[in-house]
């Protein structure tokens, strides 16, 4: 009974902090404190929602990949997504197709991410299985290759194009219309729910593939499912928000340090914490040198790094039990 009460208290605290962060994100912006102007609130709502979606998607993708690959260093970009999306984005920028419409840039990035995903999958496939090591290596190599091609594009582009690409690589959650964020939101929600539904399988797979198959998990199928879910979520987020770093790596770790490695709790908790973290980071990015804006990736690194170190230190002293 006591255990149950503690659990609902934790859930309540988590939801309450998210609500507080959402309120702060709406009330504070580059033009100062504002709670009664609907025009402004509407704008901020767009950014807050997109930040929440991106934070949740990246964190869950990170948690899933860390589990499936059994590698603590895994993040949403470990399988080459970032390079592929960047290459797609860069090709659109350099070809001057930008002005065909506001959808061209995200479409290019998403196509790049998708193509990378398929290539990594084909590269890693050995017979009817995809061994984890091969998958990881294929991802790293594809990431490096597409990254190199992106650098080539950057180096032949004009000064302004270079600057814009760099900005995109650091990530942002600026919303200029509702359609794209909505699309990303739906894709991410589906991904998070799928990851949650199959979190028991993920738990078993962390033990090792052989053990998992003894326990009745169809390992290859599960691996493919997790790979596709994580990749699509990452691709969707990256195509609209750019390469927001750090979230997908540290949020799952921080949550794991706090509540333990059980993926049935880790997945939903990572989604909530990731969402809150990015909303907060976005508010910081918007106001700290207003009216100028910082890339959100800079803020996630600044806020996330020290906090993560703090968590690690505390754990070493044995405070976490």
């Amino acid at each position: 009974m006591n255990e149950k009460a503690a659990r609902s208290f934790r859930i309540g605290a988590l939801v309450a902090s998210l609500a507080l962060v959402v309120f702060l994100g709406l009330a504070i912006g580059p033009s100062g404190w504002c709670v009664n102007d609907w025009t402004i609130l509407k704008l901020r709502l767009g950014s807050v929602l997109l930040a929440a979606v991106a934070g949740a998607g990246l964190s869950v993708a990170g948690a899933v990949l860390q589990g499936v690959l059994r590698n603590p260093l895994a993040d949403p970009y470990v399988l080459g997504m970032s390079g592929g999306a960047g290459l797609g984005y860069g090709l659109v920028v350099i070809s001057g197709a930008v002005w065909l419409g506001s959808w061209v840039l995200p479409a290019g990035a998403f196509a790049g991410a998708l193509a990378t995903m398929v290539l990594v999958y084909l590269l890693a496939k050995t017979g009817r299985t995809i061994p984890v090591t091969t998958l990881l290596l294929a991802g790293v190599i594809m990431g490096a290759m597409t990254g190199a091609m992106l650098m080539f594009i950057v180096s032949i582009g004009s000064y302004e194009q270079m600057h814009d690409l760099l900005w995109w690589m650091l990530g942002n959650v600026q919303v200029t219309d509702w359609k794209l964020p909505l699309l990303v939101g739906v894709a991410t929600a589906v991904g998070v729910v799928l990851a949650w539904v199959f979190s028991r399988e993920l738990n078993v797979m962390v033990l090792g593939e052989e053990e998992a198959s003894f326990l009745g998990v169809r390992v290859e199928l599960a691996k493919k499912l997790f790979f596709v879910v994580a990749s699509l979520m990452t691709g969707a987020v990256v195509s609209v928000c750019g390469l927001i770093g750090f979230v997908g790596l540290i949020v799952p770790h921080a949550v794991r340090l706090a509540i333990g490695p059980d993926n049935r709790k880790l997945i939903p908790a990572s989604a909530v914490v990731g969402a809150g973290f990015l909303i907060l980071a976005n508010t910081f990015a918007q106001v700290i040198i207003a009216p100028r804006v910082l890339p959100i990736g800079v803020v996630t690194a600044f806020l996330g790094g020290p906090f993560f170190i703090y968590l690690l230190r505390r754990r070493r002293k044995g405070v976490w039990t």
């Binding site: 912006g29 580059p30 033009s31 025009t39 402004i40 509407k42 704008l43 901020r44 767009g46 001057g96 930008v98 002005w99 065909l100 419409g101 506001s102 840039l105 004009s158 000064y159 302004e160 600057h163 814009d164 900005w167 995109w168 942002n172 600026q174 919303v175 200029t176 219309d177 509702w178 918007q286 040198i289 207003a290 009216p291 100028r292 804006v293």
Partner: protein, 295 residues
């Protein structure tokens, strides 16, 4: 048969090699040989009547059209030192670029030719740079004539709108880039030109950067009366794109359809700006609106 293919291939390779070995054709000119490392400086050189003396320009030096025929010496900001030296210049002129590139140029060109470094971020600097360039190339008279004319134009415009109070000036937002939103900050020639034309550059609030990145909310709160769009190759549809942004339908300029694309000349910190400054007053105020106020 295969032997013949091999022979033909070898001969072809040798021929191509010989063609390449001849190297780039050296441009023959009489008098001083000048290399310009930015499109703006190329324009100033042509204005000074030195078009014939230029033996190398940076990429994208496309104005006046005659500049397109001149050999390229690498991108602006990333000059190719080997090509420059092979063009046998007497004078190399560069705009301020990154310090490491400048030090490299100075070291490599020391003892080879004169190296002139110019700053052209503001209108006054363009005038000053033109004078320096005239001095270095022996066209002092022409330089004086040009800069006097420009100076007079600026002074004329300054007095024309000096009486306008801050709140009577047209609020102008310049969109330099869309992804991310980038505008022009204080200290840029654009900011200065807007002021001269009786407007107020909203980007001046974003201090600390010449080309600051701002958020959508900031622009909505600024509520500009005129939006000027600067950018290469914006193929139509830019008005719709800007108008359809979330929350931008509340902006006065969008409501009144006052979104105007600036011509290419605005991207060059060169002589054409002085002609454009005159027209800018009409662009930002609309047809005669406000421009006669207070007269």
């Amino acid at each position: 048969m295969r032997v013949w293919i091999a022979v033909i291939l070898v001969v072809a390779v040798i021929l191509v090699g010989l063609a390449l070995l001849r190297g780039p054709q050296l441009r023959q000119v009489s008098g001083q040989r000048i290399v310009s490392l930015s499109p703006a400086i190329t324009e100033i050189l042509f204005e000074l009547g030195l078009g014939e003396q230029i033996v190398g320009v940076s990429e994208h030096s496309d104005y006046p059209p005659a500049a397109r025929q001149i050999p390229r010496m690498g991108k602006y900001g990333d000059p190719n030192i080997e090509l420059i030296i092979r063009a046998k210049p007497d004078l190399v002129v560069s705009q301020r670029i990154s310090p490491d590139k400048i030090i490299l140029m100075q070291n490599e060109l020391a003892g080879v030719c004169k190296f002139l470094l110019l700053k052209v971020d503001t209108l006054a600097e363009i005038i000053e740079s033109t004078q320096q360039l005239a001095q270095a190339s022996g066209t002092i008279e022409r330089g004086q004539e040009l800069t006097d004319r420009w100076q007079k134009k600026i002074e004329e415009m300054e007095t024309r709108y000096a009486h306008l109070a801050e709140e009577d000036r047209v609020k102008v937002y310049v969109e330099v880039g869309a992804n991310p939103l980038r505008t022009c900050g204080p200290g840029t020639y654009l900011s200065q030109m807007i002021r001269l034309a009786g407007g107020r550059n909203l980007g001046d609030a974003a201090t600390g950067s010449l080309w600051p990145i701002v958020s959508s909310e900031t622009v909505v709160v600024w509520n500009p009366q005129t939006i000027l769009v600067l950018g290469m190759k914006r193929t139509g549809g830019f008005k719709e794109q800007i108008s359809s942004r979330l929350g931008w339908d509340n902006i006065e300029a969008v409501k009144n359809g006052r979104i105007v694309e600036l011509p290419d000349a605005y991207q060059r910190q060169g002589p054409r700006l002085f002609e454009e400054a005159e027209k800018l007053a009409q662009i930002i105020a609309g047809q005669g609106r406000r421009s006669s106020k207070g007269e």
